[in-house]
């Protein structure tokens, strides 16, 4: 045992041996991970592989926030849940799976929807935030809250047979509002529940989000900040494109921003986006 092993228990050295062997990750990377706390917002299609890989890799504290219950038609893509948990809270189901994979990771269950009223309180407890939600108001809200709290945000989305991924508000890079200062018309917003999604597509994007969260939390590699990954499952095309930098005129992260914690808490995201946090009750599929 040398000085560099400090902080790693014998069980950690055994469990994470394949990480420790990596010259570009090694003991420092594992120690950084073990001290980091990461919040996954949403325990659905994206959140499933994110939470499982973050638990497996040995992040110190893993928070999961979601207010929904598991439904049978989630299971085609939300591999963290099992049939036995249908009807139970997603957070409870997800935490049980993470605990079964790695009982040495502290998993915190936030069994509620993330809203402007509780986001500051919940998100302030974590180092890195991962957006795995499925609706537009949440995406603006989480990005704004990350700017207000100065946290990096790993953001992924999947719909149909396509996916997108980037890291916001990291190392001087843009926030969600820098890219999308004005919300799209409500008619342009589709959800998985309306338009469908091939189950493995959020799986791919979620794994890539877990990787970016690990890179940010362990300070290795070059996170996908100022760049966006675009994935098209049908053609098998993946491209990584260069994004604009942070906008000095951004309403939230710009130089003269007046956007404070107080602004955030009273901001009406549903009205701003003309789109609800929660989809209307699941209607049966009409074939």
């Amino acid at each position: 045992p040398t000085a560099s092993v400090c902080g790693l228990t014998p069980e950690m050295i055994h469990r994470y041996s394949r990480h420790l062997l990596l010259p570009s990750f090694g003991v420092d990377g594992q120690l950084n991970l073990s001290k980091a706390s990461i919040l996954v917002v949403g325990a659905g299609g994206l959140g499933s592989p994110i939470a499982m890989y973050l638990a497996a890799c040995g992040v110190g504290c893993l928070g999961i926030v979601d207010g929904d219950n598991v439904e049978l038609n989630n299971l085609h893509r939300q591999i963290i849940h099992t049939e036995a948990y249908v009807g139970e809270p997603k957070v409870k189901s997800a935490a049980a799976t993470c605990h079964a994979i790695n009982s040495t990771v502290r998993v915190v269950e936030h069994r509620e929807a993330l809203l402007a009223s509780n986001a500051l309180d919940i998100m302030s407890q974590y180092d890195v935030i991962v957006d795995a939600t499925d609706n537009l108001p949440s995406r603006y809200m989480i990005s704004d809250c990350c700017v207000v709290l100065n946290k990096p945000l790993v953001s992924g989305a999947a719909l149909g047979l396509e996916g997108q991924l980037t890291v916001y508000h990291y190392n001087g890079g843009p926030c969600y509002r820098c890219l999308f200062p004005t919300p799209p018309p409500a008619t342009a917003c589709q959800r998985c529940s309306d338009s469908g999604v091939l189950g493995v597509v959020p799986g791919i994007i979620g794994c890539l989000q877990a990787l970016e969260a690990i890179k940010v939390a362990s300070s290795i590699g070059k996170p996908l900040s100022g760049r966006m990954l675009l994935f098209d499952a049908l053609s098998g095309h993946i491209r990584i494109v260069k994004l604009r930098g942070r906008s000095l005129n951004c309403d939230v992260c710009g130089e003269n921003s007046m956007f404070t914690r107080e602004t955030f808490q009273s901001f009406d995201y549903e009205n701003f986006t003309q789109s609800p946090f929660f989809p209307s009750s699941n209607e049966g599929l009409q074939l």
């Binding site: 299609g45 992924g156 989305a157 998985c192 494109v241």
Partner: protein, 104 residues
């Protein structure tokens, strides 16, 4: 046949392809306006609106630019980095229009 304009490779993604007969990739030959010394993005958007968008143009454009929520990439770079509507296009450039996704 000699091309009478500028050849551009267009790519519609994230649902925008639904506005162009569900086809994502379009190789197009955009004629220059009489007297113009080159093609810019503003001209290309006009051309697309006239020649490609078959339905709900308001889902693609707002005013003389794209609607909010659409990213425009010229040769894999955000058009904000190259001048937005004034971005100059050259033969064989690739322009991607992608609607931001929110699903998960």
């Amino acid at each position: 046949m000699e091309p009478c304009g500028t050849l551009i490779l267009l790519n519609f993604n994230g649902g925008l392809e639904l506005l162009c007969r569900s086809t994502k990739v379009h190789h197009v030959d955009v004629e220059l306006k009489p007297g113009a010394d080159g093609l810019i993005m503003k001209d290309l958007l006009c051309w697309i609106r006239t020649n490609l968008i078959k339905e709900r143009p308001e889902m693609f454009m707002k005013g003389d630019s794209v609607r909010p929520g659409v990213l425009v990439l010229v040769n894999d770079c955000d058009w904000e980095l190259s001048g937005n509507l004034d971005t100059r296009l050259e033969e064989k450039d690739e322009v991607v229009f992608i609607s931001t996704l929110h699903g998960g």
